[in-house]
């Protein structure tokens, strides 16, 4: 009788990469009516090389053939594409679910009525403060009001369980309970996500990032609110679990970039994840021969990311198994080595290295789609 080998645990399977992503982020456009100070895609101006409607629908067909289960659509502001509904409807009717993120400016009553009729579709409204004072300082004047208005439309048409998504910053971390109440009031689900120094975030990161005590505050708050989503973005805080003697945060707690997920940008470029829009993490383009599948399965970058990694400088730290050394994107854009601690390492293991990074030497985003002259509150940006 033969021996059946034990199946490795799921996390190890996933680190080696899947034949197709489970889901992926697809930024439909770099056009945006806002100019958020931390925008991961430095959005504002439409790129003239954007995928056409036909190319976008063909991409959907490719993803459907691969059985990608759903796409996280964003941008820029995806509803600024004239073919937004056409693309979304093509996706949900062909087996690829859609979750899309919007600032809500264009989500009027008519749009809400159209959205609530679509199957396999979820909507997420971005918000970064409970008050205009906090929110608009990051997202621009009037953005808070527009977001709240969009939420009202979704509630009024009976769109259940839409998402309200917050990027946690030093300035909104004390409002988490209020965000939760806001979500409850709208029959929505709250998501809080980690700020990364990506896109325009490269410059605003140091003003917005959580302090060490605030990180601990968020960790405990997440554990106390298991019905709040996190985008799987706080796994670096699992370094606290041995300290508090408690469970890991829910979720897979690993970096999925290039292994489980990736980004397709508005011009068809494929990056490891939405937070590393930089040539260093560019795997290929869907317009190349072989389309998306070829990039996902054969690109040099993704093949490298799927190789086993060592703990590197984190090897001597007992938390590595729990925190996995944190977030690749955060390390990259702060000029830290990828095989060492995360800048937000809760034990402070990166503090010295971070302070030693000479001003202006950390990588900058490869592209900037910002609209010239778009208002960015001076108080919250300080170039480093």
């Amino acid at each position: 009788m033969s021996v059946i080998p034990k199946t490795p645990p799921l996390v190890e399977q996933l680190k080696g990469g899947l034949d197709a992503p489970i889901c992926l982020t697809w930024e439909l456009t770099y056009a945006c009516n806002l100019a958020c100070v931390h925008c991961l895609s430095s959005s504002g101006r439409r790129d003239p090389k954007e995928l056409s409607t036909a190319e976008a629908k063909d991409l959907v067909d490719q993803l459907a053939a691969l059985q990608v289960f759903y796409v996280n659509i964003g941008g820029g502001e995806p509803m600024l594409r004239k073919d937004f509904f056409e693309i979304v409807e093509h996706s949900v009717t062909n087996g690829v679910g859609v979750k899309f993120s919007t600032n809500g400016t264009y989500l009027d009553r008519a749009a809400a009525e159209r959205l609530v009729e679509l199957p396999y579709l979820d909507v997420q409204i971005s918000l970064d403060g409970m008050t205009p004072e906090v929110n608009d300082a990051v997202r621009g004047e009037g953005s808070h009001a527009k977001a709240i208005e969009a939420m009202g439309h979704l509630r009024d048409v009976g769109f259940e369980d839409f998402k309200i998504s917050i990027v946690c910053t030093r300035h909104n971390v004390d409002q988490l309970d209020e965000f939760k109440a806001l979500a409850d009031d709208h029959g929505a689900q709250l998501r809080i996500t980690r700020l990364r120094p990506s896109g325009r975030g490269v410059d605003s990161y140091h003003d917005l990032r959580l302090t060490n005590p605030q990180q601990r505050q968020v960790f405990h708050w997440i554990l106390d609110h298991p019905d709040v989503l996190t985008g799987d973005s706080f796994f670096h805080l699992n370094a606290l679990t041995s300290e508090v003697g408690g469970p890991n945060l829910p979720g897979l707690n690993m970096c999925g970039a290039g292994r489980v997920v990736c980004l397709i940008d508005p011009i068809g470029d494929v990056y490891a994840c939405p937070f590393v829009i930089h040539d260093e993490f560019l795997a290929g383009n869907v317009r190349d021969g072989g389309g998306f599948a070829r990039v996902w399965r054969e690109s040099t970058l993704f093949t490298e990311l799927r190789e086993p990694t060592s703990a590197g400088a984190c090897a001597s730290c007992g938390s590595y198994d729990a925190c996995q050394g944190g977030c690749m994107a955060t390390k990259f854009f702060t000029g830290l080595p990828l095989d060492g601690p995360d800048p937000d390492c809760i034990h402070g293991h990166a503090d010295e290295a971070l302070a030693a990074v000479a001003a202006g030497t950390a990588p900058r985003p490869s592209q900037d789609h910002s609209r010239p002259g778009a208002a960015v509150p001076v108080a919250l940006t300080r170039k480093r």
């Binding site: 199946t7 399977q13 899947l18 034949d19 197709a20 489970i22 289960f69 759903y70 087996g95 679910g97």
Partner: protein, 94 residues
Amino acid sequence: MAFDPAERYRLSPRVGLRPEPFGALAYHYDTRRLVFLKSNDLVALVRSLAEHESAAAAIDAVVDPSTGRRSAYVTALASLCESGVVEPLLEPAA
């Protein structure tokens, strides 16, 4: 509702089942739950459920009873029933 091996089941039509080298990923489009089926035998079992008069019969067709693994498959189906990946098939047998 509790899993009953004497009843008929089927792979839910609301689920996308995607083969992987190690078995399959199952994604439920309504609940958004994602489940990892860790053996190709389990995947074959799940796909064959509707063809049998009962889940127990389907298991017997796939699993060699002398392996002692039968209970693992019963447990697996119960788990998949809980997550909605498989569901009772209420039509009468053909």
